[in-house]
Symmetry: C2
Subunit: 274 residues, 2 copies
C-alpha cells in the first residue's frame, strides 16, 4: 500500500503519516510537494491513500485540505490522526555553546515558541523559512552561528543536536491530520466521527433549521465552520463534525439534512488514531 504525505521529510506531516502507516501495517510512504497535488495523486490512483494536515496545523491551513475535499476531488476521509505538537531548539554540534545570531523555522513554529525564544535568545533574529524541516537542512549545511526550531525527526535526518525539547509556549498543542482515500461513503458501523459539508439558502435562520435536525437525532456537533462558497458571493458552505451512538440514526439524520440543504456532501465516517 502506497501512502502519500505533504513533504518534505522530517515535517509533522511525515510523523503523522508514519503513525498512520504503523496502524495500517505494510506501507510505503511517498512525499509530495503540496496538498492539492497529493490529493490528486490519490484520485488518479498513483497512490492508495494520503495523510494531509486538517486542523491547527503547522505546515498548511485547514482551508486548503477542506476546500480540495469539497470542491476538487471525490475522496473520502478514512481516519483522523492526532499528533501532539512538540518543538525543539536544535544546532550543529560545533555550535552548541555559542550565542545564535539567527533562529530559523516555519513562521507558525516561531510564533508558537515566541515566549521561549524571547526569554532565552533575545538577541537572535528569527528567520522564516518554508518548513521546520527546511530550517534544519539550512542550519546543517551552513557554517553560520544559526539555530533552528524543528522536529525531532528533522534534527535526526540532518544530524543536528537538540538543545531543548518541548519549547512551545502552549504545552497542550495538537495537530489533526486526515487519511484520505477512495470510497463509497458507506456507514458500516459506529465510528467516532462523521464529517459533512452543506449549503443552505442564504437567509437568516436556515442554519438554525439544520441544527434542529441534528438535535432531533441527538447528534453531537463537535466542529462547525462556515466558508464562503467559491464564485458565489454571499453563499456559505458549512463544515460540520458529528458524533452519534447509532449508525442507523446517523444514516437517517444525514438523509434528512441532505433533503433540507441546497448542497450536501458526506466527507466520511471514521475513527480517530490517537
Amino acid at each position: 500500500m502506497k501512502i502519500g504525505y505533504l513533504g518534505p521529510e522530517g515535517t509533522f506531516s511525515q510523523m503523522a503519516a508514519l503513525k498512520y502507516a504503523k496502524y495500517k501495517g505494510e506501507c510505503e510512504l511517498v512525499p509530495f510537494s503540496g496538498i492539492p497535488v497529493v490529493l490528486k495523486a490519490v484520485e488518479d490512483g498513483l497512490i492508495d491513500e494520503c495523510v494531509v494536515p486538517f486542523e491547527n496545523s503547522i505546515e498548511g491551513t485547514v482551508n486548503f485540505t477542506i476546500d480540495s475535499l469539497v470542491f476538487d476531488v471525490d475522496l473520502e476521509m478514512k481516519s483522523e490522526i492526532v499528533l501532539p505538537i512538540s518543538h525543539n531548539i536544535a544546532a550543529r554540534r560545533d555550535c552548541e555553546n555559542i550565542e545564535p545570531v539567527k533562529i530559523l523555522s516555519h513562521p507558525q513554529s516561531l510564533a508558537q515558541c515566541r515566549k521561549f525564544l524571547e526569554r532565552n535568545y533575545k538577541n537572535a533574529d528569527t528567520v522564516q523559512v518554508s518548513s521546520n524541516s527546511e530550517a534544519a537542512r539550512i542550519v546543517s549545511q551552513s557554517i553560520e552561528p544559526w539555530f533552528c526550531v524543528t522536529t525531532e525527526a528533522a534534527a535526526e535526518i540532518y544530524g543536528l543536536t537538540i538543545l531543548k525539547k518541548g519549547i512551545q509556549d502552549e504545552k497542550h498543542n495538537e495537530t489533526r491530520f486526515v487519511a484520505v482515500g477512495k470510497g463509497e461513503g458507506i456507514i458500516d458501523g459506529i465510528k467516532e466521527k462523521t464529517s459533512i459539508v452543506f449549503s443552505t439558502e442564504n437567509k437568516p435562520g436556515e442554519l438554525y433549521k439544520i441544527l434542529d435536525i441534528m438535535s432531533i437525532w441527538d447528534l453531537n456537533m463537535t466542529k462547525i465552520e462556515s466558508r464562503p462558497m467559491k464564485n458565489q458571493l454571499g453563499t456559505y458552505v458549512f463544515f460540520v463534525d458529528l458524533e452519534c451512538h447509532s449508525a442507523e440514526d446517523m444514516k437517517d439524520a444525514l438523509k434528512m439534512i441532505k433533503r433540507k440543504t441546497t448542497f450536501f456532501k458526506h466527507l466520511g465516517t471514521y475513527d480517530l488514531i490517537d
Copy 2:
C-alpha cells in the same frame, strides 16, 4: 499615526496596510515579523493600530489572528480590508525568454496557481519559501534561471519583470485583513459587521439556543467557526460575524448572548473598506 503590518515589504499584508493608510489619511507604515508581535506592539502603545490577515490569507492563518485577539491581547477590530488576490509570474530582465528550472513562492501561492504552472512550466520544480516577497528577493539576487510567483509590489521593489499578471487558477479570490487598535467596545451607530466570540456549556443543543437569540433579534450570521478552547479539551469557542440594521438591537442582542454563554468577548463593530 503609526500602523504596523505583517512584513516583509511587498507582501499582500503591506498592500492591505497601504489601502487602510489611504483611507485613514496621514500614516506611517511599520513592518513586523509576525502576527503576535505586531498585535503586542499595539497593546504596548509602540504603534497605534495594525493590519493583519484574517481570512483566506496567503501569508498567515486566520487561526493565529483570531486566537491572539481572543486570548492574548485586549484590542478591538476597527475595520476590515478586503483585497483581491492576484498572482503574477516574474523573472529577472535577462531571464525573460528562458525556460525556468525552478519557480519560487509561498506554498499557498504556488497551490493557488498550480494549474497555470502545470500548463505553462511543467518542467520547472516549484520551491516553497516563506513569502511571495522573499521569493522575489531571492530571484532578483540569484544568477540561476529561476522565476517566482509574487505580488506586483514585490516585483517592483526587487526590479523584476512581470511576465503575466493574474495567473491564479481561481479568479475570484479575496483575502480579508483587519485593522486592530485599542478601544472600548462601543457600538456608536450602524456598522456593517460585528464580530463576537463565545463559549457555551459543552452539551448538545447549546449553540442552537444562541442561534435562537440571533434569530429573535433578526441578526444575520455571515460567519461561524468553532475552535477548541486552549487547555480545555472538549470545550469550544465560537467565532461569529453578525449583521444588523439597528445599533440598539445589536446592543440588546449582545447583552442577551453574553447572559446565555459561559465566555463572551465582543471583538469589534466595524465597517468594511473595499
